[in-house]
Amino acid sequence: MSPRRRTRPLPFLLLAPFFTALFVFWFIPLLQGFHLSLESDDLYGNTSFVGFLHYRTLVHDARFWHALRNTFAYCALSVLLILPLALGLAHLLRRTYRKSRALIQFCLMLPGLTPPLVMALLYVLIFSGPFGLLNRVFLHPFGLPNVDWIRDPRFVKPSLALLAMWRWTGFITLIFLSGLEGIPGSYYDTARTEGASAGQLFRYITLPLLRPVTAFVAAFLFLDAFTLFEGAYVLLGGSGGVLDAGLLLISYSYITAFTLGNFGSAVAISFSSLPLLMLVLWFILTQGRIRLFSAVKFSAAKRLPA
């Protein structure tokens, strides 16, 4: 008898805990949050129902659009900074002595293992002014002028991206390393005997085979950059920085909720950015042609029936 015909309790038993937790601790607060975004911003006393007022106000809110642009720019910058770097490091890592690999991997992972407070304290050392390490070690010796990493509006987003890079590069490098090791050496050998150059090997073998991994990593990094508040909080204290150069959507939501006391508007801000985020993620995952199971294949090409 085919297993598909019987009703089995196991699948539902296994799905139940997750979906119960999802329902109780995500959906209910989500719905309550949505309801909150439809209420007036009274902090104390009775609120009134205002419908989509906050959402409508956002359309005219220049700061919201600025934050949206900043966020996408920062996310793109992080991803574009980390991906090639991690891939390059993974290549390098393959060529090092096997014995030193574990230590190097540990050192690279170290930043990812630390709580944001550590980064806040380290910021004082790394980012701050002419005495800060970034300037002292990386710029002065090369004769470059001081960069005011936090106060110069041109450098705030790169600073945030550098922070993300420092945090995630190790982990992403490890993922790429495994990806590279998963490519059979015979592919390269065959191509080389046919006279392919190193660049061609990379372009026609490595990249396509790493495509799903790259997409997964890009989606993960993009999501982290979009939703993580700790980075901006550490560097800018939750504010937007000079000329709002570092204002991310998450920071704007925080400022609206806590600095201004407008909780309803804050939730509206976060909800408004969701459709765009979903679109970008869908795009990334589709490009990666990630296969999950036959019913849902993240591919723009074709859809198999369930």
Binding site: L43, G45, R151, P153, S239, F263
Partner: protein, 433 residues
């Protein structure tokens, strides 16, 4: 009723009274470690001196975390405190609708606080004619300076009696690679108020005195151009990094700030120059735009408020009143907490005059007491927190970094505030800007 029954009932009631549950503890929220210890001590003292049943539950949060938790508590109504001690800047956040704190106007009028608190400070927690909090700290602004460096450079305090003279001295230090002072956004706030104006008024208008504001701002920018002052890396003075990098290397000779700057910040951050710091009144403005020749100003300050929905309003008020008027409480707050009281009758306490070795045994209390009558009147407005936030986070630096002019910045801030308060986002009882 028979007499025996009556007495039995009386006896029963007396027993019941003896077993009556003690009132729950009063919850006090503070935002620093030092305050936590202070109020724990004060609760004990109050229990000994006044109310044997008094119990307090004191919770301390990070300075920036406290308003977050308070907003959340007020909005949700969950785990709200009875008493909160916080900065007047945070108080302004709660003025946009119905004020969530108890109206203390009548209670204050009936207490020694009415005559005792320096009148200039009462406006800090007053909105639309009603007072919601008791200002705790005097926060008079003085010039903190390195007496040893002044001596070796031949500068005497008399050379800094006016701002023009101050700038001249500052310019003379150019070649010595020293700055007379370091600056942050608070200087705009402080100096503007010293001239008799402010960034907002009690009617809730932003930049009502924009001409003088622009003038003061431009003056500060000229300080930077003339190397009289500079802005530290992170844009603020309140940073141990600033002290480690600049103050300790004698690159900065003075700082403008309220009493707790010197007492709390300088004493804790600059441990290498014990005995070398002093304080003097501010240089005065001598131009026609400024009102009066004040030798001091004010900046921020802490206060105590009582949450409106607290089940123990009277109890909380009695404790607040006591902590503000009791001599021991005031002295302790100064000696341990580095906060000089705004309650004038306490100033005569000799313990205030204990010489402070960090400041070369200068009698700081005498200085604060002398200049207190010259302090400007401060008002409160729901715009206060917004303006300070925008100034501090974005706009002040962009002007001093020559990326914007004061006039444009004022228009930009006004526009942002109008945007932020547009329609008060559907609020029931909003205050129109």
């Amino acid at each position: 009723m028979q007499p025996s029954t009556f007495f039995r009932a009386l006896f029963f009631l007396a027993v019941l009274a003896g077993f009556a549950p003690a009132a729950p503890p009063v919850t006090i929220w503070v935002s620093s470690d030092a305050d936590l210890k202070y109020y724990q001590n004060m609760a004990q003292l109050y229990q000994q001196k006044v109310d044997k049943d008094f119990q307090a539950n004191i919770q301390s949060f990070g300075f920036t975390e406290m308003p977050d938790k308070l907003s959340l508590a007020i909005k949700s109504g969950i785990n709200t405190p009875d008493i909160v001690q916080f900065e007047e800047i945070f108080f302004s956040l709660y003025l946009k609708g119905e004020v969530p704190f108890v109206d203390l106007t009548d209670r204050i009028a009936a207490s020694p606080l009415a005559k005792g608190i320096l009148p200039q400070r009462m406006g800090l927690f007053t909105w639309k004619g009603r007072t919601y909090g008791v200002p705790q700290s005097l926060s008079s602004v003085v010039l903190w300076y390195r007496a040893d460096m002044f001596k070796s450079l031949g500068i005497s305090p008399k050379d800094l009696s006016t701002w023009d003279k101050f700038e001249a001295v500052g310019q003379s230090l150019k070649h010595k690679h020293m700055m007379l002072t370091a600056m942050d956004w608070s200087y705009l706030d402080i100096l503007l108020r010293q001239r008799g104006y402010d960034l907002y008024n009690a009617q809730g208008v932003a930049f009502p005195d924009s001409v003088v504001t622009v003038d003061t701002w431009k003056r500060l920018v000229s300080w930077i151009n003339d190397s009289v002052a500079f802005v530290p890396d992170r844009g603020g003075i309140f940073e141990p990094g600033f002290f480690a990098n600049y103050v300790q290397s004698n690159s900065v000779l003075s700082l403008i700030g309220p009493d707790w700057y010197g007492l709390d910040m300088i004493q804790n951050f600059d441990t290498t120059h014990v005995g070398k710091w002093r304080a003097m009144p501010l240089p005065v403005w001598t131009d026609s735009l400024s009102h009066g020749h004040r030798n001091t100003s004010s900046f921020s300050g802490q206060g105590l408020v009582i949450f409106k929905k607290s089940p123990q309003v009277e109890r909380s008020w009695k404790f607040v009143e006591w902590v503000m008027t009791d001599p021991d409480a005031n002295v302790d707050r100064y000696l341990q907490g580095n906060s000089f009281s705004a309650y004038r009758p306490s100033w005569t306490d000799l313990r205030f005059s204990q010489p402070n070795p960090f400041f070369g045994n200068q009698n700081l209390a005498q200085l604060f007491t002398d200049i207190a009558p010259n302090m400007p009147y401060t008002v409160q407005s729901p715009l206060h927190a917004l303006i300070i936030n925008l100034l501090r986070e974005q706009y002040f630096l962009s002007v001093v970094q020559h990326q914007a002019t004061p006039e444009n910045t004022i228009s930009a801030i006004r526009a942002q505030i109008a945007q932020m308060t547009f329609g008060q986002r559907g609020q029931q009882s909003g205050t129109k800007p």
